[in-house]
């Protein structure tokens, strides 16, 4: 989403070696098989090319991907709007009565937006409140920890590659695994409670106390994704010309001043990317928290996406219209956030 130009430097040795391994493993049979397929495809393609000319073949190559995009992204986007303006329980738009903005009116029917209990669709607004709280806490801790980690990893330390890998590896884990790993540690008779009783404390039921449940949701999310943001910041740090630091060293500038005056201002574009990405992901939080807490206790960690999922798929009466309206609202928020990112990075690039 940010700097795409860098991906030209991808001709790394590992990819080549992976490929050669794959090729050897697959052996000549795979090669021959692919070759036959290619020859078979080539016959109609050649005919087509003779018919429309070689320049228009671009459309043919573009077609499959764009067909997938329209079928699974753009058409759904339109249908989503249709859904949100219709009622009933049917999944098929033709059997759904037009209800105008009723779904939205229902969704936004609130005594006070600061008190979810006063809303008709209180779960949605609890979701909004929880997501907001989650996003803010997550953003602050994510930026803080990934910045500190990136700064430290950028120092002259032994075993940098190892430490970088350590912080990075949870990024590869699936949300289900991340949640289960922590659930196992945090459960009533888990490792953490064993530690607590060993130092003379009391067992804490982390998933029964709303505050703790939210705390661990944020913690686990930061644990899992910190490495990703650290990498973005680290790339930014390494792009800062070392002459600047050498000059600062000549002047015997104190460390904190170098950090404040050189490092952070020059890192700002990467920090913006990190902040906006963390916001966009925070707003869409679902899987880790869902597996970890199930949205509980009660609705203490119920997020907007979980509300949408449950309204449409996991409740007794599948209310597709309401779920669609809620996801349109979520989509507008995401769109505004993306727009903010684009303007911020664009302005940065222009100046």
């Amino acid at each position: 989403m940010s700097d795409l130009s860098g991906s030209t430097e991808l001709q790394g040795a590992p990819a080549a070696s992976l490929l050669s391994v794959l090729r050897r493993a697959g052996g000549a049979t795979l090669d021959a098989g692919l070759d036959t397929v290619s020859r078979l495809i080539d016959i109609p393609m050649r005919l087509l090319q003779r018919l429309i000319g070689e320049r228009r073949m671009a459309y043919v190559f573009l077609l499959p991907n764009l067909a997938f995009f329209s079928l699974f992204v753009f058409v759904p986007l339109v249908i989503n709007l249709v859904f949100s303006f219709t009622g009933g329980e049917s999944l098929f738009p033709s059997q759904r009565p037009y209800v105008g903005t009723d779904q939205y009116a229902y969704l936004f029917d609130c005594g006070s937006y600061f008190d979810p209990a006063s809303c008709r669709v209180d779960h949605f607004w609890r979701g909004v409140a929880n997501t907001l709280r989650f996003t803010v806490f997550q953003l602050v801790s994510m930026v803080t920890f990934s910045l500190v980690t990136a700064l430290i990893l950028n120092m002259r330390i032994r075993g940098r590659g190892f430490f970088r890998a350590v912080y990075f590896f949870p990024v590869l884990l699936s949300p289900v695994v991340v949640a289960l790993v922590w659930k196992w540690i945090l459960q009533r008779d888990g490792l953490l409670n064993a530690g607590l009783t060993m130092i003379g404390g009391q067992k804490i039921l982390f998933f029964v106390d709303p505050t703790w449940a939210m705390f661990w949701s944020v913690f686990v999310s930061v644990w899992a994704h910190m490495g990703f943001y650290t990498l973005i910041l680290l790339a930014g740090l390494q792009a800062i010309p070392s002459e600047l630091y050498e000059a600062a060293e000549m002047d015997a500038t104190p460390r904190w001043r170098v950090l404040w005056r050189i490092t952070l201002p020059l890192l700002w574009p990467n920090l913006i990317v990190v902040i906006v990405l963390a916001l966009i992901r925070g707003v869409q939080t679902f899987d880790e928290v869902f597996v970890l807490t199930g949205g509980g206790p009660g609705t203490a960690t119920l997020m907007i996406v979980q509300y949408i999922y449950e309204t449409a798929f996991a409740s007794q009466v599948q209310n597709f219209g309401l779920a669609a309206a809620a996801s349109v609202v979520l989509g507008v928020v995401l769109f505004l956030l993306t727009l903010a990112q684009l303007t911020l990075t664009r302005r940065r690039g222009a100046s």
Binding site: Q49, N65, L173, W182, A312
Partner: protein
């Protein structure tokens, strides 16, 4: 990558600034915090159900040693007992009556002792409960889930590689009317995550008659904007002369794509393949919405369903979680450095 001194260069002189010590302390803490949970998962996955229920938990998968004693049909648990005269012996427990245990000497079954349970210490030995791994694969549908996950991952990655590279080829090699619009479409899809079109995609999949089929998981995510960008960016760097020369030789456009551009784009294809495998293997929300029958569950959905049951069988759950970790662990070990640079360059994962 040349290390750049971040704060200042005192370190070079061999003197330690307090920030250096703080940095190493932070990193050490990080290693524990990042690795310990997963190590704990793996260790726990080898424990028997009985030792998983123990509190406080033991670090290693230990289980009590049992011995067969003549005259007893069942194997008996072994304890180190301190006898009344202060002597320490290894005895097998026959039965326990209140606070007194009736013990027998395994070497000499006629010798019986009565020992207060307070003076018994279980004799434990390291044993790995591999049945945690084998049983769920036989008793539950985990083999099925595993197969489903592998199928989805492999097929989806192949489709993604094919259609994304075709689009990238069109967008990098040709000049044609509507190219800008096509690029805008690709950028546009970057901004529309599945979370906001969950319901209508479900409708499309239903119309196609794919609900509960693995194709419902494979198809919607097959065309990735990330993949198109990644491959296009790489293909732009390929020499045009080669393509022109092939055209001179009467190669068809398809042949140029398949025989010249694809092999040259292999490094970028490998990156996309790795990304795609990770995405597909770990995917959660969409499969959760669209797969409702157990026989079509992927591993992630199966794990989630298993943990949601009232009586969670943690020994099986932990072991299966470890199984679902294996491909990820392999990718990490072999390609970590490589993905790291990929992510740092593209800002995407």
């Amino acid at each position: 990558m040349r290390p750049i001194q971040l704060l200042s260069a005192r370190h070079r002189a061999g003197r330690w600034h307090w920030t250096d010590i703080a940095a190493y302390a932070y990193l050490a803490l990080g290693v524990v915090l990042m690795f310990a949970p997963v190590v704990w998962l793996v260790l726990s996955s080898f424990k028997t159900q009985a030792s998983l229920l123990e509190f406080p938990p033991k670090l290693l998968p230990l289980s009590q040693q049992e011995v067969r004693v003549q005259g007893f049909p069942q194997p008996l648990p072994l304890f180190a007992a301190t006898l009344d005269n202060g002597e320490r012996r290894e005895l097998a427990q026959v039965r326990r009556i209140g606070l007194i245990a009736q013990m027998v000497d395994p070497a000499d079954p006629k010798q019986q002792y009565r020992v207060p349970t307070a003076r018994l210490v279980a004799v434990r030995h390291l044993s790995f409960a591999t049945s945690n791994y084998t049983e769920p694969l036989q008793k539950f549908a985990f083999t099925r889930y595993l197969w489903n996950s592998v199928f989805v991952t492999v097929i989806a990655t192949l489709i993604t590689l094919l259609i994304n590279s075709m689009a990238a080829y069109a967008l990098s090699i040709y000049e044609f009317r509507g190219k800008t619009i096509a690029m805008l479409i690709v950028i546009g899809t970057l901004m529309i995550p599945i979370t906001i079109i969950l319901v209508p995609v479900y409708l499309v999949v239903t119309k196609l008659g794919l609900v509960n089929s693995l194709w419902a998981v494979i198809l919607p995510g097959a065309a990735t904007p990330t993949g198109v960008f990644l491959l296009r960016q790489y293909m732009l760097t390929l020499p045009r002369d080669l393509i022109e020369a092939a055209r001179m030789d009467k190669a068809s456009e398809w042949q140029i794509y398949w025989r010249i551009v694809m092999p040259l784009a292999a490094p970028a294809l490998a990156v996309l393949a790795i990304f795609s495998v990770m995405w597909r293997w770990n995917e959660f929300l969409w499969p959760l919405a669209v797969l409702t029958r157990t026989e079509s569950f992927t591993l992630q959905i199966g794990l989630n369903a298993f943990q949601g049951e009232l009586q969670t069988q943690w020994n099986y759950l932990l072991a299966m979680t470890v199984v679902s970790l294996i491909p990820v662990a392999l990718v990490f070990v072999f390609l970590q450095r490589f993905i790291a640079t990929g992510i740092a360059n593209t800002g995407m994962k």
